[in-house]
Symmetry: C3
Subunit: 398 residues, 3 copies
């Protein structure tokens, strides 16, 4: 029964990776669509390998090298529960490179990116994941002793999203902006997305899959909670409506706004009141729009899909918000403190920023991280994959 439950959850979060792929395909220029598709699925592949052989052991001190008869009943589970649990948690871990991918797209080299994926999913992510979700290093005990509660992150606002989003900050700054995005005279050139329907398709797939991400984070069918489902729904809706208005009816803002709400609700979806979740989503939608514009146009940070505001900023907001709207005084279920949420969130953000720079600067210094100017101009599709997104049509034209 619980195996069925987690299998559905894992399948839904696996589908989210298709969502990541199409959100990126729709947002990049056409000459980089194929590369976006291949990078996302390849990242998923290498994430699985890294998490299977290293990451899961780093976070939970479990590996899967015993014979099948033992694996089926390991850790007190039955029917191979621990293996589907691995699958479910892997789909979260693999979200890290999928998130970053949207920031570094259109100019990153292929194999150096794979190296980063392996380092992040095999090592960096499981370190923080284990700290929060497995009590490693005594961090939760320390928070509990000093701030009255453990850090509560039900479905990963911080563990997954803020981590991925702020890892992307180091990656994006290390890579630098796409050619022609910003001029020396201070001008900001818009680089238009290629395909709004694909962008919207990606967003829809992510939205639907998210209910697996959140609801199945309970781990067992008996733990499934209608509150989590409702809170996810209301935060999603709050985010999309807020981004619709703040973003002046722009399709990119509307469809990413729904995701902003979902990012922010992950941490506290099991303890906040539905009205709190709605409010958290509204704030996330507004945050996404304004931080996106701040980064892109004022700070000249070329985070193509806006993953720093979407996953980083909204994820951090979600971690903190769980400490506010989870309290019983606001109708929540309690068991959290504002300070524990704040400190836990800041720890995650700090680790992400530092690790992001370390990993990508390290790769830049050794393997190189950025496409040649010539390849970037030609587009990653032809430069790396020798094929474009619409080969039949493109061959006729040229």
């Amino acid at each position: 029964m619980d195996v069925f439950f987690l299998t559905m959850g894992a399948a839904m979060v696996l589908a989210m990776h298709a969502g990541f792929a199409f959100l990126e395909v729709g947002t990049v220029r056409k000459k980089n669509q194929v590369n976006a598709l291949i990078r996302v699925i390849t990242d998923f592949g290498f994430s699985t390998i890294a998490y299977f052989f290293i990451g899961f052991w780093v976070a939970y001190d479990i590996n899967f090298f015993a014979p099948v008869a033992e694996l089926n009943v390991m850790e007190g589970g039955t029917h191979g529960y621990k293996m589907v649990h691995f699958f479910f948690l892997l789909t979260f871990a693999a979200a890290i490179p999928a998130i970053i991918s949207g920031g570094i797209t259109e100019r990153v080299r292929f194999w150096p990116n794979v190296v980063a994926t392996v380092l992040l999913v095999g090592l960096i992510y499981p370190l923080y994941e284990g700290m929060i979700w497995n009590g490693n290093f005594g961090f939760q005990d320390w928070l509990s002793a000093n701030f009255g509660a453990e850090f509560h992150d039900f479905a990963g606002s911080v563990v997954v999203h803020a981590m991925g989003g702020f890892l992307a900050l180091g990656a994006v700054l290390t890579l630098g902006a796409r050619l022609g995005r910003y001029t020396n005279t201070g001008k900001v050139n818009a680089i238009l997305p290629s395909n709004i329907p694909f962008l919207a398709l990606g967003s829809w797939v992510l939205c639907v899959g998210w209910f697996g991400f959140n609801v199945m984070s309970a781990g067992t069918a008996d733990g499934a909670s209608g509150l989590v489902a409702m809170n996810s729904l209301l935060a999603m809706v709050g985010g999309l409506i807020a981004a619709l208005i703040a973003g002046k009816n722009d399709p990119g803002f509307v469809h990413n706004g729904a995701l902003a709400g979902l990012v922010a609700v992950c941490a506290g979806s099991d303890i906040m009141h539905p009205l709190g979740a709605l409010f958290v989503g509204v704030v996330a939608g507004v945050l996404f729009v304004y931080v996106f514009e701040l980064l892109q146009n004022k700070l000249r940070i070329d985070d193509v899909l806006g993953v720093v505001p979407l996953h980083g900023v909204c994820g951090a907001w979600g971690g903190i918000a769980a400490g506010i709207f989870g309290s019983t005084s606001l109708g929540g279920a309690g068991g959290v403190t504002f300070m524990a949420q704040l400190v836990g969130t800041l720890a995650g953000v700090a680790i992400a920023i530092i690790a992001g720079f370390a990993v990508y600067m390290g790769i830049k210094a050794t393997l190189g991280i950025r496409l040649s100017e010539e390849d970037e101009h030609m587009g990653a599709d032809l430069a790396i994959h020798q094929i474009s997104a619409n080969p039949e049509e493109d061959m006729q034209t040229h």
Copy 2:
């Protein structure tokens, strides 16, 4: 367990909204694709708000303003069952504007459409929903006393589909046809769809999600019925094959024909014999094709996606058919009468037609409902959203 069950159902019906979006994107002209995407997701957002704050209370006299601890066990449920039940029923309620959207697309104004959505999902739909599914106003008792049974609409052939489809009739007639669709000299100009693959994608998503719509209408995992699954399958197949033949192998007819069968099977899928369901689907497929052509070409009603025949006519047929093929004499499970089904269906259709004209004429008279000629000519994408479906490419061209 039941929470898991309904969560999967709600996620599948949520996915159907992506299906509605892509069915519309593929059928409209390219200059209105972005608008179709944004309207569908925005309608979903405002539907959630309207149903959360008003509609659910109108239909079931329940709201969600108590603290979380109480919400989790309200109405005798556990694990927040009532909240996921809300989510599931919301995805049905939100289908109302999603259905209408396909009829009024390419010429409707944005915010007046949102006002209509709020009125319909907050008020009109829950009135009829409550009458049928919650026994409000004594309508079911009256049918029972006079026609031998209550009105049986298992998964909403009438409550959702005929309601949405016939609400759209008033909307479409109030708006009038798209510019250039019909000439004063009696000529009918074909307005060609932009993208058949997107249309087909939308149809597939709807088909798959429909099994959540139908099977999970049981409400509890223990109530799930293989009969409902099989009947839905056979009606879908009957509809698609009938529309393939009646529609002369046209992709729009084939892919909508599958939906026609699914619309019609909702009401009686839990009581009809599989052979009855197959027949009901075949009739629905044929009905869709011929009524579509009648409305578009003879009656000059510019219902762009054919939602009046698809949801309205096939939904009404489904409501009535449950009274025929649900009877034990035709191998069904019984418990229904033809007259109760007929009267219940006609009541739904009448309410929908009246409310549709009232709401849209009211909005037309106050806010205005139709885009200016200039905006309609330019397309809703650029007029409302300042962006087209393929911005990179469109900017190069122009």
Copy 3:
């Protein structure tokens, strides 16, 4: 409960048919996209009819003509379990024409193809299916007596995939190559795919749905196994990474490589060790790339999507591999023998090759199987369906 379990499985495998459709849409030329979409959904429709009225009875000696009250409890099930079991197994059966479709696309006639679908799903497939999964004809007893075990094919590497893939061999050879694909002078002309994002979309939908295909093959929620989920995951990843490398970063190879791993893991996913599954997937990915190139470029067999290597060769490899990696000496669960797997696989492949030639040669001789040169040149969309994939745009151009 088990009804819910199989309903989710059936819905996921139903979704795979959308995946088959888009994989084909993306790979064919644009002038055949609409035809690919309609053929896949129509094949599904006629498969349902053929399997409902004939095929299920051929394989399992069960039909559904009793009244509903009896159907709900037939074969000792409750809640109509046997009907959802039918639905689940139908989605497998309907995969046969969906697999073949990718080989014969761009030149097959419409209604003769429907006739083939009915023959294959109504008769050929259920014969072998019944032999393996229902013990018909004493084949399993004979294997057991002579080779120490029955033929083990948990989720259909051979029953579904090798069967479909090798049926396609006869179909493809009967049809002959597309016009202009190979010249008399020995030249091989590349025919480029139309749309890589659609190809990738199809692959993703198939990957996600596959977890329903594999995990739900347990038949009951209590039989769901985390081992199956993990093995499917690792084989998918092994296939995609191997095909990425062997296929030199080509999007078609990467996205089909994931499927190759999944095809190969079906047979032994419930008994192999995860490391065995990973290895099986890696081999499948490499096999797909090299056999694809062998067939297309050396043997001049115009199997458009490469369904013979993908489903045929990798399926047969999966059947045999279950006999290797399922053994306890390699950490597996045992209960299989190499020889039983080899013989069972070869029997399936032999039946498929013979039946494929028989059915398609028979249809060629009677109804004709191939489009006229004129129609093939014009494209199946305009020739058969009188519409193209982007009607609005195509009308403006021409």
